[in-house]
Symmetry: C2
Subunit: 586 residues, 2 copies
C-alpha cells in the first residue's frame, strides 16, 4: 500500500530523507527562481492576453501541486511562452482581451487541459505525444518564438498593431510605425539591449568586475528583475506614465480566491481541441526538460506520473484564477544550476510568489509594458532555431518538409493550424514512406541453400516457383501495395505455378495484411497459382494460428526457402545445388 501510495505521491520518498543541507540548497534555488519567475509570469500573462497579476496567480498553487505529484527533482512549473501564445490564440477569437469572460475562459482552458492530462495518465495515453514528431515540435517552437517576438514589438514601439497571422502583424506594425511613442521606445530599446547584453555577456562583465563565477551566473539570471526595478523607478520619478508610456496599472493585491471556473459546456467543447494541443505540447516539452535534467544526476522521471503532476498543476491553476501552465525550459535549468535538490524548491518558489502577490503588487503599478515585452522577446528568441531546418533537410527531406510546413502554418495561418498541418503531414509522409516496402524476387545461389535478390546476384530461378521476399512488417500502410506488387510479378512470370512468400523480415501481420494475404491467395488460385509461405517468425506464426488463414489458403508454410523449393521444384533445386558457386555468374 505504501509503495503504491509513493508511486502516486513521489514527494513521500524524497521527504523521508530531507535534511538541513537540502533545505539550504532548495532555499537558494527558490530565491533565484522567484526573481526570474516574477517578470516572466507577469510577461507571459500579458502574452496570453490576461492581466499581468494572473501570471503570478498561475505561479503559486500549480507549483505546490507539482511538488506533491512530480517525479522530476528540479522541474520548475509555471506559465511558459509557447503555451501562453496558444492560450491567446484559442481565446482571442472568442472574447476581447482583458474582459472577465476572457479570464474565465482561460481558467476553463487550464481546467480542460488538466483533466485531459489526468485522463491521459489514467488511460495510459502518454503515447499520444508520439504524434508530435521531433521536426514538428522543433518547427512549432521556432515559429512560435518568431510569432511571439513579432507580436511584442508593438509594446516596444508603444503603438497599436494586430493581425491574425505573421504577415498581417508585420504589415500592421509597419503601418503604425509613424505613431511610435518615443519615451516608450527608449525604455523598450534600452531594456532589450540590456537584457540581450546580460544574456550574452553578463557573465563575462560581472566576472571582470571581480564577482565569483557562481554568483555571477546567478546574478545574470536576475537581469530581468533589475530591468523591472530600474524601469519602475524611472517611470515613477519622471512621471512617464502621464506622458503616455503604457504601464501595468493598479494590480490588486492579495492571494487569488479559490473558485471553480464557470463550467460552460458549449464553450468547453469549443476549447477542447486547443486544450488537447496545449496538453500535448506542454507534456512533451516538460518531459523533455525533465529527462535532460534528471539524466545529469542519474535520476529518473516517470512519464506517466508526470501526466498526473502536470494535470494536477493545471487543475490547480484553474481553481486559483490562473491559466495553462507547464514545466519551463530556462527556468528549470536555472533551478537545477542553482542547486535545487528536491521539488520543495518549487514549493518555496510558490511561497516567494505568494509573498509578492501579498505585499509587492503596488510596485508593479508603474511597470511599463515595454519592459515586459522586452523580457518576452529576449526569452523566446532563444527558442528559435532556424538552422534545425537545414540540418533536418540534409538528413531527411520528408522530415524537413513536415517541419517547414509546421513553421509556415504557424506563421501564415495560426498556431493550431500550424501544428495540425505538421502532424497531418508527418502522418502522410510516414504512410508514404512505409507504403512501398522493399519486395524482391529471389533465386537460389548456385551451390548453396541460400536465396538472394535476382537483381543483385547471379542466381538460379525456378521456372515454376516464384520466390518473393518481403523486407518489412505487413500492415495496413503497405497491405494493398503487396497485392498490387504480387499481381505485377505474377503478370511477369506467366509460367509460375507456385509463389513462395519469404517472410524473415516480417515482424507483424495485422488484420489488413491478413485480409490482403487471403485476397492474394484467392486471386492466385483463380489464375492457377498456389501461394506458400516460408521463414515465418514464431510470434507471427502464433498469430496466424488464431485465424483460419492457414487452413484456407491451401498452401504450406516452409521452415526455409530452400525446403520450399526442394519440395515444389526438386529438379531445379538439385541442379542449382550441384552447380559450382561461380558457374552461374556470367
Amino acid at each position: 500500500m505504501n509503495e503504491r501510495l509513493a508511486r502516486y505521491l513521489p514527494c513521500l520518498e524524497w521527504a523521508r530523507q530531507y535534511d538541513r543541507e537540502a533545505a539550504g540548497k532548495d532555499m537558494l534555488a527558490a530565491v533565484i527562481v522567484t526573481l526570474m519567475l516574477i517578470p516572466q509570469s507577469l510577461a507571459y500573462a500579458m502574452l496570453a492576453g490576461l492581466p499581468p497579476v494572473v501570471g503570478l496567480y498561475a505561479s503559486i498553487l500549480p507549483l505546490l501541486a507539482y511538488t506533491l505529484f512530480g517525479t522530476s527533482r528540479t522541474l520548475a512549473v509555471g506559465p511558459v511562452a509557447v503555451v501562453s501564445l496558444m492560450t491567446a490564440a484559442a481565446l482571442a477569437p472568442l472574447f476581447s482581451a482583458g474582459s472577465a469572460e476572457y479570464a474565465g475562459a482561460a481558467m476553463l482552458l487550464a481546467l480542460l487541459s488538466g483533466v485531459i492530462l489526468l485522463l491521459m495518465a489514467v488511460l495510459r495515453l502518454g503515447f499520444l505525444a508520439n504524434f508530435l514528431s521531433h521536426p514538428v515540435i522543433s518547427g512549432f517552437i521556432s515559429a512560435s518564438g518568431l510569432l511571439i517576438a513579432l507580436g511584442q514589438l508593438k509594446h516596444i514601439f508603444g503603438i497599436k498593431a494586430d493581425g491574425e497571422n505573421a504577415p498581417e502583424q508585420l504589415w500592421s506594425l509597419l503601418s503604425a510605425l509613424p505613431d511610435t511613442h518615443l519615451p516608450t521606445l527608449i525604455i523598450g530599446a534600452t531594456c532589450l539591449l540590456f537584457l540581450f547584453g546580460m544574456r550574452s555577456k553578463g557573465n563575462a562583465w560581472l566576472r571582470a568586475l571581480g564577482v565569483p563565477a557562481r554568483l555571477a551566473s546567478h546574478l545574470t539570471k536576475a537581469g530581468p528583475v533589475l530591468a523591472l526595478l530600474v524601469s519602475i523607478l524611472a517611470v515613477s520619478l519622471l512621471g512617464l506614465a502621464e506622458q503616455g508610456v503604457k504601464v501595468v496599472g493598479v494590480v490588486p493585491s492579495g492571494l487569488p480566491s479559490l473558485t471553480l471556473p464557470t463550467l460552460d459546456g458549449a464553450l468547453a467543447l469549443q476549447l477542447l481541441p486547443a486544450a488537447l494541443l496545449i496538453s500535448l505540447i506542454g507534456f512533451v516539452e516538460s518531459v523533455s526538460v525533465g529527462q535532460t535534467l534528471a539524466a545529469k544526476r542519474r535520476q529518473r522521471i516517470e512519464p506517466n506520473q508526470e501526466l498526473v503532476a502536470l494535470g494536477g498543476a493545471n487543475v490547480a491553476a484553474a481553481l486559483s484564477g490562473g491559466f495553462p501552465v507547464t514545466g519551463g525550459f530556462a527556468r528549470s535549468v536555472v533551478n537545477f544550476d542553482a542547486g535545487a535538490q528536491t521539488p520543495l524548491a518549487g514549493a518555496l518558489t510558490a511561497v516567494g510568489i505568494a509573498l509578492t502577490v501579498l505585499f509587492f503588487t503596488p510596485l508593479f503599478e508603474n511597470l511599463p509594458h515595454a519592459v515586459l515585452a522586452a523580457t518576452i522577446i529576449v526569452a523566446v528568441l532563444g527558442l528559435v532555431d532556424l538552422g534545425a531546418l537545414q540540418r533536418t533537410w540534409r538528413y531527411s527531406r520528408q522530415d524537413a518538409i513536415a517541419m517547414a510546413a509546421t513553421m509556415l502554418g504557424v506563421l501564415l495561418i495560426g498556431v493550431e493550424a500550424g501544428i495540425l498541418l505538421g502532424v497531418g503531414l508527418s502522418l502522410l509522409l510516414f504512410l508514404w514512406r512505409t507504403s512501398q516496402p522493399h519486395i524482391a524476387v529471389v533465386g537460389q545461389l548456385p551451390g548453396s541453400e541460400h536465396f538472394r535478390n535476382v537483381e543483385r546476384f547471379a542466381v538460379v530461378e525456378s521456372p515454376s516457383v516464384l520466390s518473393v521476399r518481403v523486407d518489412e512488417s505487413l500492415y495496413f500502410p503497405n497491405a494493398r501495395y503487396l497485392e498490387d506488387r504480387i499481381a505485377e510479378l505474377v503478370g511477369q512470370h506467366p509460367k509460375a505455378r507456385h509463389l513462395v512468400l519469404m517472410c524473415p523480415g516480417v515482424n507483424l501481420i495485422d488484420a489488413s495484411a491478413l485480409e490482403s494475404l487471403e485476397t492474394i491467395a484467392t486471386r492466385l488460385q483463380a489464375s492457377g497459382i498456389q501461394l506458400h509461405l516460408s521463414e515465418v517468425k514464431g510470434p507471427v506464426m502464433d498469430h496466424l494460428h488464431q485465424s483460419e488463414f492457414l487452413q484456407h489458403f491451401g498452401g504450406q508454410v516452409f521452415l526455409s526457402q530452400f525446403e520450399a523449393l526442394a519440395a515444389l521444384d526438386p529438379e531445379t533445386t538439385q541442379r542449382a545445388l550441384s552447380l559450382r558457386r561461380d558457374m552461374a555468374k556470367t
Copy 2:
C-alpha cells in the same frame, strides 16, 4: 510517344486486337448488365435523394469515360449503394431532397470527387487509400448496408420516417408503423420475397424448370427488371397510384444536357471533406473489385491509371447531370460472368441506358418506390458481413476495435463521422502498437561471439558495458520510448560506463529518432556513460553519414557486438569466450 499515349489511353491497346468474337461477348454482357443497371441506377439515385432519372444519367457518360481510360477489362462503373448513401449524407443537411439546388450540389460533389481523383493520379497520391485499413472499410460497408436497408424500410411500408442516425430512424419508423399503407406493403413485401428468393434459390428453380445453367444464371440477374415490369403493370392495371401507392411519376425523356455544375466556391469548400471520403472509398472499392476480376484471367490493372479513369468518370457524371459514381461489385461480377472481354461492354451498356432514357422513361411513371426500395435492400444486405467482426477480434483485438468503432460511428453518428472515427482510431492503435518496440538487454553466450537476451539465456554481462538490442526501426512513434527506456536501463545499471546499442533490426532512423539518439548521447554523457552503436545496416549508416551525429556523439560504430565488447571490456569478453558453452547455465 505511342507507348506513353497507350499508358494514359489503355483503350488503344485492346482496340487494336478487337474482333468479332469479342464484340459478340461484349454485346451479350452489355445487355445483361443494362437490365441489371436500370433498376439499380433508378434505386441508387433515390437513395442519394435525387430524382430516379438522375441515376440513368449517371450511367451513360461515366461508362464511356471509363471505357476510354480504365485498365480493368470488366469493371462496371455507375451509381453504387455506399457512395449514394455518402452523397445523401453530405447533401441532406444542406438542401431539401428533390430540389434543384440539391441536384446541382450532387453534380458539384461528382465534379469535386473527379478532380480529387485526377489530382491523386497526377500527384501519385494513391497511397492515401492506405489510411483506410481493411477493418475500417469492412466495418464501414457493413454498417452502411444496415443503415441503407433501414432507411429504405419506410418505402416498403409506405410511411414517412426520418432520422439523423440509425436509432432515430428506427424509432421514427416504429412510431409511424400504424400509418402503414397496405397496398404499398403488399407490393414491397412481395417484391422483397421474390428478389430474396431469386437471389438465393433462383438458379435452382430455373434449372429445375430445365433452363440451362448459364442462361439460368443470367436470368436470375434480371430478377429486378422482372419485378419492375410486373409491378408497373400491376400499378397501371389496378390504378394503385390513385390509391396512394407512391410511384416515380413523370420522368423526363431525352438525354441529359451537357452543363457545368454551378461553381459555388463556398459550397465546394463545404463539400470537400465528403468529396475526399467519397473519392477514397470509391477508389478502394473499385480497385479491389478490379484486381479480383483481373486476377481470374491473369490480367492486371494499374491503380494509378484507375484514378484517372474513375476521375474521368466522375467529371463526366458532373457534366451530364449525374452524381458520384464508381466501380460496382455485383455489377462487375455479372459483367465478368456474362463474358465481357473489353471495356467496350461498358460503352455498349451506356448505349443501352441511353436508349432507355430516350424511349422507355414513360414506362417508369407507374414504378412504385417500394419496388426500388426492395431492390436496394436485397442488394445492400449482401454487403453486410457481421461475422467479420468476430473473425477480426479473434485475430487482432486492435483491428476489431477499429472495425467496431467504425460500425458504431456510422450507425449512431453518421457516415462521415463513422469513417473518420475508424481512421482516427486505427492510426491511434497503430501508434500505440508501434510505440513500444521490443528492446532487450543482451549478454555474451559463454564460449561464443553471440549475444542474446539476458532474460532468456544464461549469458555473461559486462559490468561496465551495457548492451541493448532494439528490434524495430527507430522513428517518431517510438523515438521517445527509446529515450525513456534507456533512461530506465541506465538507472538499473549504476556501474555502466558504456552503452552499446545493437541495431540489426533497425531498417530506418528518421529525424525524430536521430534527435532522440543525440539527446540520449548527451544525457548519457552527462551521467558519465558513452553511447556506441553496433551492427548498423548499410543504408541506415549511409543516412547517418548525412548528419553530424557520428562526429558529435563521441562513441564508435562497431561492426558487431562482439567487436564492441572486445574493445570496451576485453577482460570480460575473453573470459566469456573461454567458458564452455554450458558452464554459465545454472
